[in-house]
């Protein structure tokens, strides 16, 4: 439980951080809140020679409404997501999800950007970002670019980020005020990653589902966007047969590992149960 030796760097600007990462090469890691990286280092599953701590970069913090989007700085903590009035007003599902991440102590330090960028399929925010159609703003040696959350996750701890890239902010389209939403997470205890979890956002009109988006957490190498399942719901009144079909479609794309949370088939079924329950709650919240 003691990490290997490393050098510590604390740049003050994004440019400095990008420069440092370029200079230090592949053996340098970005340190955000540290709640994924440091446990890996303590068990020596990761042994970076350099840590580039980006918590000194003030520009990376904050939550703002910009036009039709909510913009969240990468270094915003999960605690700040829970207490944000802008999010409470426009995207309450983010606070709902944040409350299910780890425990209060970790949420004071753990960052939104770290959670979405680390590529750990157990993190909760990635599936939600896919569900909400978020865009990630990235700055690297070649300048800045945008990557859609739905295109970002390639494998376990493997994303579209290249070495030297820093996720700076996440932009999320503000959903209609009458949308329904929910994040349902099954976990063994406080602080645990999901056995399975589901993020759901829908809109309803005249009792019919007019749009649906579903994300699934920790039931594959990557977070999943269950687009086919969601499509099966649009145009229906979310009757049992339609929901059953959508749940089956969502379960079909899962490929969870067997671990101490349970065997693969259990976790697949729990993805279905969580999705069903999230959908029920989202429907109860949808005002259309």
């Amino acid at each position: 439980m003691i990490p290997g030796a490393f050098d510590y760097h604390r740049p003050a600007t994004v440019e400095d951080a990008v420069g440092l990462l370029a200079k230090l090469g592949e053996e340098a890691n970005i340190l955000a809140g540290g709640h994924s990286l440091i446990p890996l280092m303590k068990t020596r599953l990761a042994s970076p020679e350099h840590l580039v701590d980006i918590s000194g970069i003030g520009d990376l913090k904050g939550i703002a409404v910009r036009g039709e989007e909510i913009v969240i700085g990468a270094m915003t903590t999960q605690f700040e997501l829970i207490t944000s009035h802008d999010l409470e007003k426009h995207l309450p599902v983010i606070a709902e999800t944040s409350r299910l991440i780890a425990d209060p102590q970790i949420r004071y330090k753990g960052t939104f950007g770290g959670n979405v960028a680390n590529g750990d399929p157990g993190n909760d925010m990635p599936a939600l970002m896919m569900c909400l159609g978020a865009t990630y703003a990235v700055t690297g040696p070649g300048g800045s670019r945008d990557i859609a959350a739905r295109d970002f996750y390639q494998g376990a701890y493997f994303t579209s980020l290249e070495h030297g890239d820093i996720l700076t902010e996440v932009r999320i389209p503000i959903p209609p005020a009458d949308h329904g939403y929910a994040y349902e997470k099954l976990k063994r205890k406080v602080g645990d990653y999901a056995t399975a979890a589901a993020a759901v956002a829908i809109t309803m009109a005249d009792g019919k589902c007019t749009s649906a988006s579903i994300g699934l957490t920790n039931v594959s190498e990557t977070p999943l966007w269950a687009s086919a399942a969601a499509e099966l719901l649009v145009g229906t009144n979310l009757d049992k047969a339609s929901v059953d079909a959508a749940v089956a479609a969502a379960e079909a794309i899962t490929e969870p590992a067997t671990d101490m949370r349970g065997p693969s088939e259990y976790r697949t079924k729990m993805a279905g149960v969580m999705m069903r329950r999230a959908l029920e709650r989202a429907q109860s919240r949808a005002k259309g």
Binding site: M1, I2, G4, A5, T43, R44, D103, L186, R188, K189, V190, G191, D192, T195, M260, R261, G262, P263, Y266, K269, M270, V273
Partner: protein, 809 residues
Amino acid sequence: MNDQTKIDQDRAERTEKLQGMGCKRKRVEDIRFTQGKGSYVDDLKLPGMLFGDFVRSPHAHARIKSIDTSRAKALPGVVAVLTAADLKPLGLHYMPTLAGDVQAVLAEEKVLFQNQEVAFVIAEDRYIASDATELVDVDYEALPCIVDPFRSMDEDAPILREDIQDKMEGAHGPRKHPNHIFEWQIGDKDATDKVFAEADVTIKEMLVDHRTHPSPLETCQSVASFDKVKGELTLWGTFQAPHVIRTVVSLISGLPEHKIHVIAPDIGGGFGNKVGAYAGYVCSVVGSIVLGVPVKWVEDRMENLSTTSFARDYHMTTELAATKDGKIQGMRVHVLADHGAFDACADPSKWPAGFMNICTGSYDIPTAHLVVDGVYTNKASGGVAYRCSFRVTEAVFAIERAVELLAEKLGMDAAELRIKNFIKPEQFPYKSALGWEYDSGDYHTAMKKAMDTVGYKELRAEQAKKREAFKRGETREIMGIGISFFTEIVGAGPSKNCDILGVAMFDSAEIRIHPTGSVIARMGTKSQGQGHETTYAQIIATEIGIPADDIMIEEGNTDTAPYGLGTYGSRSTPVAGAATAVSARKIKAKAQMIAAHMLEVHEGDLEWDVDRFRVKGLPEKFKTMKEIAWASYNAPPPNMEPGLEAVNYYEPPNMTYPFGAYFCVMDIDVDTGVAKTRRFYALDDCGTRINPMVIEGQVHGGLTEAFACAMGQEIRYDEHGNVMGASFMDFFLPTAVETPHWETDHTVTPSPHHPIGAKGVGESPHVGGVPCFSNAVNDAYAFLGAGHIQMPHDAWRLWQVGEKLGLHA
């Protein structure tokens, strides 16, 4: 106000001031613990101190072909690297276990479980030591391993313990196979077989008390400091039994015992994990002796969970025979006990299966037979009593599940079946079929109080309704009612049957009254959080009339404390608590002589009144204990030794037998397998209650650990012997969020042989709690025909039960 009222009031005030037995005195140790001011082993910093860290085996079973320490030794800051080759000339590459086996300190030719200690790196700081462990090159040849204890004695099973391969006579009799440790039998086999052959009704079930771990928050650790000039060793460590450690260190190191100073400072939980001796202790000692400077060893969490003593792994084929109207006639149990790679159980030496023979429980079962076979597997060793007396959680789990299964088969209510078979109050002292003499009990009263309080009849009615609703598809939740009526056996123990390495299991208290009337008292036990500093002082306060706040309790320093066998198996109150009372009474007897001298009356003319001796019939003529203390130092009666102190080594005449009635109400979501404890009621009878608040705290803690064990906590191995989930990510340590609300209650049936009638309580809630949770789960699914559901009852396993029953279609 009349005179009598005044007298009563005065007496009440003086009694209250004492903060003696029966009062909810706040825990004095919490002042430092809650401020982070405790002093633990890892807080110790000595000049020149070095740090040790282990190189551990990645394999469960492998031959060591070579160990190359040269790269590690070349790392700046590394002082030494010990291997078995270094320890062997000292005879220290193996150490004796408390169970009569030997255990590798550092693996010599083979490793026998994953994470076994292979080399010990000593460096200037713990960071360098940790880095250097990665630089020790060990060449292994992997061997086939045994994970399933039922394969251990197969004809073609790989032989695990080559070091004792030819030693077919073990510490507890003949071994049937090189991987067999012992067979232990008790009871009347023929009579039991006959009862079963002729019984109306029998049940038989394999009940598994799975492998888990005591997981104290503070891991195991030690600091050894050898003074080469004086030839003296000081060893600080996480020791539940510091004197035993001193004796063991002397026996294995050859150092004379008076030149060994063992000190157990504050300990952050033990739960049985800190009774035995570990490789880390030995290596820190050897390191310090060789290098002449202090050496510290501190386990990390994964090391603690995967290497130091586990608990349970008992596979109990349990049978009951009964008449068709529900009178239990016989019990037959065979246990296959997985002890891991070494037999390092921490039981009294003559008891290889602990007190498993308490498995007839709270019932008058006339005939019984128990066989326990211990076997080796490629897993970490242990089998310690995790918050229970020796194997008592296992025993109570067996009987309390078995009576439920019998009730189900008979179509009888499980509470009614229990009451029908309870040992009756007039049968105490009760001699059980498997050899114990229960000192006291009143099971019927406790059970009735518990059933009335929880509203048992109403709960069953509610359950019946819910079951119908479930069958009709109106709910996806099922309701379970768990019952457990346990009898513990604690306070080891009488020398006729209890010793550790030949030392009888007495315990001790030495009390010294200072001239000004304050007190220091030292015991042979060692608190790991139980609150001894609070409760022992309360016993003394009541016995000799000095306020508890003026009494300091000290434990853990073997130079100053009288010899004792330590704290585990709920033995502190039954044994050292008794020693405390007896010791205090010796002081009181001397004080009476002094008071008589001071008051110029005959001793027999005095009577005790809370905190003073007074002359009978002349209440205004008295001497307080404080005055007597002063007199004892400056004007004792002629021919009397000055001073006021006493020591007692207490040999308990019997164990004590706390008991209790527990009820659990649980709701299970069949679609996820998530179980929610709606209500948990625990009635404990631990005899005389020294401090109700401390008892309540103990009950809360024990229940929480019981909840953990029953509902998900486990140490699991894959088929290659890789230990799974040895971190708090996976190992279920409930937080306040998961932990149910506890309702506590009590009855009081004092122990007839204990000086103050107390029985011990710290472990009862664990012992009674585990089967209560498991019974609730089993009861929930029983109406669906699930049969016995094995622990742990985590969500995925319960979901699988539902899947098998076709509940998810």
